[in-house]
C-alpha cells in the first residue's frame, strides 16, 4: 500500500527523523517550563516554531491530520505569544500539548508500519480549539483594561482597512461555512473586520454568491499584526484557494515587497520534485523570517512547476533583519545547490521610508518616541546586509560538525569490522605458515592486529549513545503519573552520560518505563503522611543511575518508597503455586526476584499503570534479549532498587572455545568461573543418578554437552575431558566438553530466521560465529543451559 505519493518515500525517513526529534525537543521544553511553572518568551517561540515546522513538513508529506493538529497547537501558542493572555489553567494547557505530542508520536510510529491509515485527531483538535477560544476571551477581557489598545488605535487610524477577496477550492462545498471559519480564524488578528456577504452563518444561499463573486473581507490588522500576516492566516485556512488584495492597500503591499530580499535558488541536478523541495525551503525559512512571496507560487499543488524551477530557479522574497541567517538556512536546506541574491533590501530603503516607518510602528508597541528611534535603529542593522548580498562567503564557514547516519550503515560497518577481525585471524594463523620462521611477517601481523582493534573500538564508539535520551523519556512518565496518582515525586538522574550501544538502548526503553511505573505505582507510598510517619521526606524520590563496571553497564532504578514485603511476596507465590521448594528455604534475594516471574503481581488491584503481573516479567525478558540481567534489591520500609546489568556491546565477545565431537562451541568468558580436569573423588551421584561435581565443598550439577545436544563425543570419560564451571542467572553448573581449544574474540552472528523458528535460543544457543579457519562455532548461552537442563 502506498503511504506516500510516488517519490515521497525517499523523504519519508527524513520526515520521521526530523519530526521525532522535534517532538522530543517539544517535550523537553514543556517539561522544563512546567517545572519552572512559567513560559518564557523564548520557549513560546520555540514551541510555536516546532509546531510550525511539523505542520509544514506534514502537509508536504500529505499527512493532513498531523498537519492540522500541529496547526491547532500552533494557533493556540500564537494566541499566547501575541496576546499574553492570563492563563488560569496551566495544567489543562500542558495536558493538551502533551496529548497532542503523544498523538503525533504515535502517528509517526504508525507511519513506519506497512499498513497505514491516518488517525482522526478531530477530538483533540476540538479540545485545543476550545481552550484557545477560552484564552482569547480571557485576553479580550484583559484588553478591556485601558493601557494596551489606546495608543494602538491612535497610531493606526486607517480603520477603512485592507480589502481582500477570498476564493475557495472548487467543489469544496458549504462555502459559506468555510468563509465563517476563515472569519473566526482571523477575528483575533484584526482590530476591525467586515465581510460580504454578511449573513453567511444563517443563509446557505450565500455559498453560491461566494462561489461566483468570492468572499470579500475588509479588515484592519490588530496590534502586532501586519496585513501580510493576516493574509497568510487566511491562506492557511482549509480549502482556501486564493486570497487576493482587492482594494486600496494593493499598492502598499507591492511596496512591502520592495523592502524584501529576493533570492534565486537552484537545486541539485536530478534531485527530483524541485517544487516540493522548494516548499521545504519556504517552510524552513518561515521559521526565521517573514516570507513575502515566492515564484512560482503554486509549488504545492502543481508538479509542473518543478520544470520551471529547474530552468529558471526558484525565487523567494523574504523580509528579515538578519538576512544572512536566512541565507544560511537556505543554504543548509536539503538539495540546495546554489543561490544568488537578486535584490537586497538596502536599494529600496530610501524610497520606502514611510513604509519602513509604518512597519516598525506595527511591531514596536510604544508610540511616538519609539517611532522616531526605530528607523534610526534599523539603519545600522541594514548596513550589514550588503555582505551576504555580495556573495555567500560568510555563510560557507560554519558547517555542522554532526551528521546523522542511517543505522543500517553503521550495522554494515560493524559487520565489516567483524569480517576483518575474522580475516585477520585467518591470515595470521594460516596453516600454510606453520613451522615457518617469519620475523617480518609477525611484526606486520602485530601491527595489523593493533590497528584492527583500534578500528573496532572506534566503530563501537560511533554506535555508542548516552543513556540520557532514554532517561529523559522517563521524566514524562513520572510527570503524567504524578498527576494521575496524586503522588509527589522527584526524579533524579545520575550518570546519564553513560554510553551504551544503540541497539541496546532501543531495547531499554520499555523495561525502564515498566520499572519507573512500578516504582511510582507500588514503590512510593500512597499518602505523604505515611512517608512522614516513616521518617522520610514527604516528597518521594526515584533515582535513575547508570555507571560502567567491568565491561558492563549497570543501570539502577531506585525508589525510597515502602519496599517489598518478603512475607507478602512469599504468600502470593505460594498461592500462585510457583514455589519449587519449602517456603522457609528461600533467601530474601530469591524472594525478591520472584516478582519477575511470569504471572506474578503483588498488587491486589490492577491499576492503569501496573498490577497485571506482566510488567516485570516483560522487563526480564527484554533485558535478557539483549544479553543482560535484572535483579531486585529491597529493604522493607526503605525502598526498592532494580539493578540491570547489560553488556556494553552485543556483537563482539571474548569466548573460550571447546570441542565436543566434531563441533566447536564458544562459551563467553564472562560466564566462566574456572575450568579444570575432574578427579574421581569430586564426582557425586544423587539417587536419580544425576551427576554432580564437588568443588571446595560446594556441589554443582554436571551437564554433559554431548548429552543435551545429542552429539557423538570423542570421549565420554569424565576424567579425560574438560569441566568448565560456568555461572549464569546467579546459579552455577559444570559443563563437560571434550577439549579446550583456546580463547578468541568472536563476532556474534544471529541465527537465521529459519533456525530461530525452532527455539535454538531456548536450547542454550545464543548465536554463531565464524572462526579464523572459516569454520563455524556456536556460542552458548549459559543462562539458558543452566535453567533448562
Amino acid at each position: 500500500m502506498a503511504k506516500f505519493e510516488a517519490g515521497m518515500e525517499a523523504m519519508a525517513d527524513m520526515y520521521v527523523f526530523e519530526t521525532t526529534t522535534l517532538l522530543e525537543q517539544l517535550d523537553q521544553i514543556l517539561m522544563k517550563t512546567e517545572s519552572d511553572s512559567s513560559f518564557g518568551e523564548e520557549e513560546i517561540n520555540e514551541i510555536f516554531r516546532t509546531m510550525h515546522t511539523i505542520k509544514g513538513s506534514s502537509a508536504m508529506m500529505g499527512l493532513d491530520n498531523m498537519s492540522k493538529l500541529a496547526h491547532a497547537v500552533e494557533d493556540m501558542f500564537y494566541i499566547i505569544r501575541e496576546d499574553h493572555p492570563v492563563i488560569n489553567s496551566m495544567e489543562t494547557l500542558y495536558d493538551l500539548v502533551f496529548t497532542a505530542s503523544d498523538l503525533m508520536k504515535a502517528e509517526i510510529e504508525l507511519l513506519q508500519e506497512d499498513e497505514y491509515a491516518p488517525t482522526d485527531f478531530s477530538d483533540q483538535m476540538a479540545k485545543i480549539e476550545d481552550f484557545a477560544a477560552v484564552l482569547k476571551n480571557g485576553e479580550r477581557s484583559a484588553v478591556q483594561q485601558p493601557a494596551a489598545p489606546a495608543p494602538k488605535t491612535s497610531a493606526k487610524p486607517s480603520l477603512s482597512g485592507t480589502a481582500v477577496k477570498v476564493f475557495f477550492e472548487e467543489n469544496c462545498k458549504m462555502e459559506n461555512l468555510r468563509a465563517l471559519l476563515v472569519i473566526n480564524r482571523i477575528r483575533d488578528l484584526c482590530s476591525a473586520l467586515e465581510y460580504t456577504p454578511s449573513d453567511i452563518e444563517d443563509n446557505s444561499d450565500t455559498a453560491d454568491i461566494i462561489i461566483k463573486n468570492g468572499f470579500d473581507i475588509v479588515f484592519a490588522p490588530a496590534q502586532g499584526q501586519t496585513d501580510n500576516s493576516v493574509i497568510d492566516a487566511i491562506k492557511d485556512c482549509p480549502n482556501v484557494k486564493s486570497c487576493e488584495l482587492s482594494g486600496n492597500k494593493q499598492a502598499a503591499s507591492a511596496a512591502d515587497d520592495g523592502d524584501s530580499t529576493a533570492v534565486r535558488i537552484y537545486f541539485e541536478d536530478d534531485c527530483k520534485m524541485e517544487n516540493l523541495r522548494a516548499l521545504l525551503v519556504v517552510n524552513r525559512v518561515r521559521d526565521v523570517c517573514e516570507v513575502v512571496s515566492y515564484e512560482p507560487a503554486d509549488i504545492e499543488d502543481n508538479a509542473d512547476t518543478a520544470k520551471y524551477i529547474i530552468e529558471n530557479g526558484f525565487i523567494l522574497r523574504f523580509r528579515s533583519d538578519k538576512p544572512d541567517m536566512v541565507l544560511r538556512v537556505i543554504e543548509d536546506a536539503p538539495s540546495v545547490k546554489e543561490y544568488e541574491v537578486i535584490s537586497a533590501a538596502p536599494d529600496n530603503k530610501n524610497e520606502n521610508v514611510p513604509e519602513q516607518d509604518k512597519k516598525t510602528s506595527g511591531t514596536a508597541q510604544t508610540a511616538a518616541p519609539a517611532r522616531q528611534a526605530a528607523p534610526a535603529a534599523a539603519a545600522p542593522k541594514k548596513e550589514s546586509r550588503p555582505a551576504p548580498a555580495a556573495g555567500k562567503a560568510p555563510s560557507g564557514g560554519a558547517k555542522q560538525s554532526l551528521i546523522s547516519v542511517n543505522l543500517n550503515k553503521l550495522d554494515t560497518l560493524l559487520d565489516l569490522v567483524g569480517e576483518i577481525v575474522i580475516t585477520e585471524a585467518m591470515v595470521t594463523s594460516n596453516p600454510d605458515l606453520k613451522g615457518l620462521r617469519l620475523d617480518n611477517f609477525q611484526k606486520s601481523a602485530r601491527q595489523l592486529r593493533k590497528l584492527n582493534s583500534e578500528l573496532q573500538d572506534t566503530v563501537m564508539s560511533i554506535r555508542m549513545v548516552p543513556l540520557s535520551g532514554a532517561f529523559s523519556k522517563m521524566t514524562r512518565i513520572v510527570r503524567d503519573m504524578k498527576v494521575k496518582l496524586g503522588k509527589d515525586v522527584d526524579l533524579v538522574f545520575e550518570g546519564e552520560e553513560t554510553e551504551v550501544d544503540k541497539s541496546v538502548i532501543d531495547q531499554l526503553n520499555d523495561p525502564l518505563m515498566h520499572m519507573v511505573r512500578n516504582s511510582m505505582d507500588h514503590g512510593i507510598e500512597e499518602n505523604a503522611e505515611d512517608r512522614i510517619n516513616a521518617g522520610k521526606p514527604a516528597k518521594g524520590k526515584i533515582t535513575l543511575s547508570a555507571y560502567n563496571a567491568s565491561g558492563e553497564v549497570i543501570i539502577v532504578v531506585a525508589d525510597d518508597g515502602q519496599g517489598i514485603d518478603p512475607e507478602k511476596v512469599l504468600a502470593k507465590a505460594e498461592k500462585n503455586g510457583i514455589l519449587t521448594k519449602p517456603a522457609s528455604e528461600y533467601s530474601e534475594k530469591e524472594i525478591f526476584n520472584m516478582i519477575m516471574l511470569p504471572g506474578f503481581s503483588t498488587n491486589e488491584q490492577v491499576t492503569e499503570y501496573s498490577g497485571r503481573g506482566v510488567g516485570m516479567d516483560v522487563v526480564r525478558k527484554n533485558i535478557e534479549k539483549i544479553g543482560g540481567t535484572v535483579s531486585v534489591d529491597s529493604k522493607f520500609g526503605k525502598g526498592t532498587s532494580f539493578i540491570i546489568k547489560i553488556p556494553l556491546s552485543l556483537s563482539i565477545v571474548d569466548g573460550m572455545e571447546v570441542s565436543v565431537g566434531g563441533s566447536i562451541f564458544t562459551i563467553p568468558i564472562n560466564s566462566i568461573r574456572e575450568s579444570f580436569k575432574a578427579k574421581p573423588e569430586q564426582l557425586v551421584k544423587d539417587t536419580d543418578g544425576k551427576e554432580m561435581i564437588m568443588i571446595r565443598g560446594e556441589c554443582f550439577p554436571l551437564i554433559r554437552l554431548y548429552d543435551i545436544y545429542d552429539l557423538e563425543p570423542n570421549t565420554d570419560d569424565l576424567y579425560d575431558g574438560i569441566v568448565i564451571l560456568a555461572e549464569g542467572d546467579g546459579k552455577c553448573a559444570c559443563l563437560f566438553a571434550d577439549e579446550l581449544i583456546g580463547e578468541q574474540q568472536v563476532v556474534v552472528k544471529p541465527f537465521s530466521p529459519l533456525l530461530n523458528k525452532y527455539n535454538v535460543k531456548q536450547n542454550g544457543m545464543a548465536g554463531c560465529s565464524i572462526l579464523g579457519d572459516g569454520s563455524i562455532t556456536i556460542i552458548l548461552d549459559v543462562n539458558n543451559i543452566i535453567s533448562d537442563f
Binding site: S663, I708, S752, Y758, S775, I776, T777, I778
Partner: protein
Amino acid sequence: MENSEPANKNYAADDSEVLFFSIDGTIYGIEIKYVNEIIGIEQITVVPKIPEHIKGVINIRGKVVPVISVRKRFGIEEIPYDDRTCIIVLEFEDGEQVGIIVDRVREVIVVSRSEISKTPDAKSVNSNHYIKSIVNLESGVRLLLDCEKLVRDN
C-alpha cells in the same frame, strides 16, 4: 518497487528460467529467481536440537547459512556426499539465504508459460506438498518445486 514488479510479472508471464536438479534419479526444477549460487558441498556445522532435515549451517563468505537436505525432506534415504553433490543457495525476497543439498545439478532451461500446468490436487502423490506445478518439456514431464514451502514449512 511498484515499478519493478510489473516488469517481473511480464517476464514470468512469457518465459521463466528454471534450474533442474536431480534427487534419487528424479528431476525437479526450481525457478531461477530464487537461486543465488551453486556451490560444492562444504563442511557443515551441526546445530543441535533442530529438525532432522536441516543439516546445520555453512559459512558462505562470512554469512552463516542453514542448509537443508532435500532427500531428507522428501523422506528419501540419504547417501554419502560425492563430488557431484551440490548446495544450491536460495535467496528469498526478505533476504534470507538457505542452502539445499541436491544429488546433482542438471541444467537451466527457459520454460514458456504454456508449458507449465498446475498440479492435480491428489494428496496421494508422494511429496506433492512441495510441488508447485508441472512442466511439459520435449524431453519429458518435470516437477517444479515451491521453494517457500520446501524451505519454510514445518
